[in-house]
C-alpha cells in the first residue's frame, strides 16, 4: 500500500494559520506552517486589547502559540514556486526546502489600508494624525511622541480606506466601527478631561455585545458621535489639527480644532497573499479578496482541488469569525485528504 500523503502547507502565521495548524495536527496531519515575517501572530501581535470585552490580545496570542509549540513553523519564509503534480502540490520554499503537499491552506490575511493614500487626512504629513494600529501600539507600549500629554480634543475618523470608491476600496471593513468605539472608550479612560469625537457614516455594531460598547461610549465616556465624513485636515500654527466635516443630521458644515486624530484604516487583501496566489491564477473578486467556490456552503473551498481558504483573505472579519473559519477549513481539508485513503 502506498504511504498516504498527509502533508498540509498553511500559508500565513496569524490567528487563522495558527488555529488551523493546531487543529490539523490534532487530526493527524503533517503540518508545515509558512510565515513570511520574523514572528507568529500577524496583526494580533500588534494589538493591545480586543473588542467588545477588552480582553488582552497577548492572552489570546499565548493560547494560539502554545497550541502549536510542536508544529513545524518556518519563519521569514516565502513560497517560491507552487505546481500541481498528481493530486498534490509541489512547493518550493525560500529556505531551500521543498514539500509535496496534499493540500494548501491560504491563511494569508489582510493588509491595513495605507492611510497616507487618503492624502487629505495628512497621515505622515501632520504630526498629530495617527492610525488605529498606531494607537494600539501606544496602548501597548505607552510610547508615542505624537500623542500629547493633555489632549483637549481627540477625533476618530471612521471608514479610512473603506466604503470609498475614490481610492478603490468599496467594501466595508466591518471591524473598524467596533474598534473605533473601543479605542474611544480606552482613550477617554486614559485622558478623562479630553472631549472625544467620532466622525462616522454608519455605526455598524453588528456583533453580540457591540451595542453595549456603543452604549458605554455614550453613557460612561460621553463620546460625541457626529454623523459626517471628514473632508479634510490641516494644521494650524500651534501644530494642532483643523478638522472639517459636515454634521449631516444638522445639515451644516463643521470645523473643530483637535489635538489628536485617529484614522480608522480599513482592511484590504494582503499583497503578499495575492502574489503567492497569483502563481495558481486564483480568482479574486472586485474587492480584491479571494473567491470561494461558493459563498454559502463551500466558503473555505477554492475553485482548485486541494486549495483552501480561511480568514480575512476572504474578506474583512473579526478574530472569532476567523478562528471559526480556520476550524471549518480543517474539517474540509481532513475530508479531502481522507478521500485519497479510500482510493
Amino acid at each position: 500500500m502506498k504511504h498516504a500523503n498527509k502533508n498540509i502547507v498553511i500559508i500565513g502565521g496569524g490567528p487563522c494559520g495558527m488555529e488551523a495548524a493546531y487543529r490539523l495536527k490534532n487530526e493527524g496531519m503533517n503540518v508545515i506552517l509558512v510565515e513570511k515575517g520574523p514572528s507568529l501572530g500577524g496583526h494580533l501581535a500588534c494589538w493591545d486589547r480586543l473588542f467588545p470585552e477588552s480582553i488582552k490580545a497577548d492572552d489570546l496570542l499565548d493560547i494560539l502559540k502554545n497550541n502549536i509549540s510542536d508544529v513545524n513553523c518556518f519563519l521569514n519564509t516565502e513560497i517560491i514556486k507552487m505546481n500541481l503534480r498528481n493530486d498534490a502540490y509541489d512547493i518550493e520554499l525560500s529556505n531551500g526546502i521543498t514539500v509535496l503537499a496534499r493540500a494548501v491552506l491560504f491563511a494569508t490575511g489582510f493588509d491595513i489600508f495605507p492611510a497616507e493614500k487618503k492624502e487629505e487626512y495628512g497621515y505622515g504629513i501632520y504630526n498629530k494624525v495617527i492610525t488605529n494600529k498606531d494607537l494600539e501600539q501606544y496602548f501597548k507600549t505607552g510610547k508615542d511622541e505624537r500623542i500629547p500629554a493633555n489632549p483637549k480634543n481627540i477625533g476618530f475618523i471612521h471608514c479610512v480606506g473603506s466604503r470609498d470608491e475614490k481610492i478603490g476600496n468599496r467594501q466595508c471593513s466591518k471591524v473598524c466601527c467596533a474598534t473605533a468605539v473601543k479605542q474611544a472608550c480606552e482613550i477617554k479612560e486614559r485622558f478623562p478631561d479630553a472631549n472625544v469625537y467620532s466622525f462616522y457614516m454608519d455605526l455598524r455594531m453588528f456583533g453580540r455585545h457591540y451595542e453595549d460598547l456603543y452604549y458605554k461610549a455614550q453613557h460612561e465616556c460621553g463620546v460625541r458621535f457626529i454623523r459626517g465624513r471628514v473632508s479634510e485636515i490641516s494644521e494650524n500654527k500651534e501644530g494642532k489639527l483643523i478638522v472639517k466635516a459636515e454634521d449631516t443630521l444638522m445639515g451644516k458644515p463643521i470645523k473643530i480644532t483637535m489635538d489628536l486624530v485617529v484614522l480608522m484604516a480599513g482592511m484590504k487583501n494582503s499583497e503578499a497573499g495575492i502574489k503567492t496566489a497569483g502563481q495558481l491564477a486564483v480568482l479574486r473578486d472586485d474587492d480584491g479578496f479571494f473567491n470561494s467556490e461558493d459563498s454559502f456552503y463551500n466558503l473555505e473551498k477554492s475553485a482548485y482541488r486541494g486549495i483552501f481558504f480561511a480568514g480575512t483573505c476572504l474578506g474583512p472579519k473579526t478574530i472569532p469569525e476567523t478562528i471559526n473559519e480556520a476550524r471549518s477549513a480543517v474539517l474540509s481539508i481532513k475530508e479531502y485528504v481522507e478521500s485519497f485513503a479510500n482510493d
Binding site: 497616507e116 492624502e119 487629505e120 495628512g122 497621515y123 505622515g124 504629513i125 501632520y126 504630526n127 479634510e232 490641516s234 494644521e235 494650524n236 500654527k237 501644530g239 483643523i242
Partner: protein, 352 residues
C-alpha cells in the same frame, strides 16, 4: 508638519512634459489685470532660456468664463478649444501651453470628455470643419505656463540677481502659495504635486530661497469662484472666502503671496483693499496689504527685471515693502511711467 511626507506625495505626482517647442495661448483676463506677466513669460523663455514658444494673433479666448457662468454650453467651448488645437497643428506644433488656469482646467476637461465619449469628439470635429475649415488635432502634451517656469526653476535660480530672502535679516521670505482650483483639483495627476499638496509653486519658491507657509485654509478657494462674483449682490460670498483665507494666514505673517491663476491673483490682491475699507483691517503690517504676485512676476524680480516693467504698479497692494525686503533697487518716480516714459495715470487713493 513632516516635510518628508510631503516629498513622498510630490514624488508621486510628477508629470512628463517636454521643455521646448510649444504653441502658446494667452489668457483673456490676465492681459488686462497683470499686463506684463505674459510678456515676462515670453522674455524669460525665449530670450533667457532660448526656447521656441510660438504665438499667433489668430487664437482666441477658450470660452472658460462664459462656460462656467452658463452663458455658453459645453459643446460651444469644446469647439472653441478644438479651433485652438487646430491652429497649433496648422503652425506645426504638437505641444500646447496656456497661460490661464481656467483654460488649463477646461482643456483637460475637454480632452477627457473626448477620451470617454468618442461620439462627442466626432461631433466637435465635424462642427470645427463646418465652421472654420480647420483640421482637428489634439496636443501630444498639454502644459500650463507655470509648469514650464517650474521646469526652468533651477536655471532661473542659477541666473538670479535677487533671492526670496530678507536682505536685512538674512531670513528666507515667508511665502503663501495659492494654486488655482482648476490646476489639479479636477485631475490631480495633471499637476505637479497633485491636488492636496501641490508642488508647482512650492518648487519655485524653494529654489529661489523662500520659505513656504502651510496655513489651515491653504486649500480654500481664493474667492473668485465665478458664480459668487459675477452678480454684485453675491460678491459678499466671494469677499467672505478671501477674508477667511487672510484671517487664517495672518498669524504666520507672510511677506508675499504667489499664485498661478489669473482669478486668484486678482481677487487676493483687490479684495485686500475692500477688506481694508469695509473692515478696517490689513494683513501686511504697518497698514499695508500682503503683496500678491504672479509666478512670472516673481521669476522676473528674481532675475533682476525692473519692477515697473513687470507691471507691479498695476497691483492694488503696493509691492514696495517686498522690493525693499529683497533689496531690489527701483525708482519711485518711474512707478507710473509706461512705455517711452508716458504717464499712465495714478490711483486716486494710495494702495493699501
Amino acid at each position: 508638519m513632516i516635510y518628508e511626507g510631503k516629498k513622498k506625495i510630490w514624488s508621486e505626482y510628477q508629470k512628463d512634459i517636454p521643455d521646448d517647442h510649444y504653441f502658446y495661448a494667452r489668457s483673456c483676463i490676465r492681459q488686462m489685470f497683470f499686463t506684463a506677466s505674459e510678456q515676462a513669460f515670453l522674455e524669460i523663455t525665449r530670450k533667457l532660456m532660448g526656447k521656441d514658444i510660438f504665438e499667433t494673433e489668430h487664437h482666441t479666448t477658450c470660452g472658460g468664463i462664459a462656460y462656467h457662468c452658463d452663458a455658453i454650453p459645453q459643446e460651444t467651448s469644446m469647439t472653441i478649444i478644438a479651433r485652438q488645437f487646430a491652429l497649433m497643428k496648422k503652425y506645426g506644433y504638437e505641444n500646447f501651453v496656456c497661460s490661464c488656469i481656467t483654460s488649463f482646467g477646461l482643456y483637460n476637461e475637454t480632452l477627457e470628455t473626448w477620451r470617454r465619449f468618442p461620439e462627442v469628439e466626432a461631433k466637435v470635429k465635424e462642427d470645427l470643419w463646418e465652421s472654420c475649415h480647420l483640421e482637428f488635432a489634439k496636443p501630444k502634451f498639454l502644459a500650463h505656463t507655470c509648469d514650464l517656469i517650474y521646469k526652468y526653476r533651477e536655471r532661473i535660480a542659477s541666473m538670479a540677481k535677487y533671492r526670496l530672502v530678507n536682505v536685512k535679516t538674512g531670513r528666507p521670505l515667508r511665502v503663501v502659495e495659492h494654486i488655482g482650483c482648476h490646476y489639479s483639483k479636477m485631475f490631480p495627476s495633471k499637476g505637479f504635486g497633485g491636488a492636496e499638496y501641490p508642488y508647482v509653486l512650492v518648487g519655485m519658491v524653494e529654489s529661489w530661497g523662500g520659505e513656504i507657509i502651510d496655513y489651515p485654509e491653504r486649500r480654500h478657494c481664493c474667492g473668485f469662484g465665478f458664480r459668487q462674483y459675477f452678480i454684485q449682490s453675491d460678491r459678499g460670498y466671494s469677499l467672505a472666502n478671501t477674508y477667511k483665507k487672510f484671517e487664517s494666514m495672518e498669524p504666520y505673517e507672510p511677506d508675499m503671496i504667489i499664485t498661478n491663476c489669473p482669478g486668484c491673483t486678482y481677487f487676493m490682491d483687490r479684495w485686500q483693499y475692500v477688506i481694508a475699507e469695509t473692515q478696517g483691517k490689513t494683513y501686511g503690517g504697518k497698514g499695508h496689504g500682503i503683496p500678491v504676485l504672479t509666478y512670472e512676476e516673481v521669476a522676473g524680480l528674481v532675475l533682476g527685471y525692473d519692477p515697473w516693467d513687470l507691471g507691479l504698479q498695476t497691483h492694488q497692494v503696493g509691492s514696495e515693502p517686498l522690493l525693499d525686503k529683497m533689496g531690489i533697487k527701483y525708482d519711485p518716480a518711474k512707478k507710473y511711467l509706461g512705455v517711452n516714459g508716458k504717464f499712465i495715470g495714478e490711483p486716486e487713493k494710495s494702495p493699501c
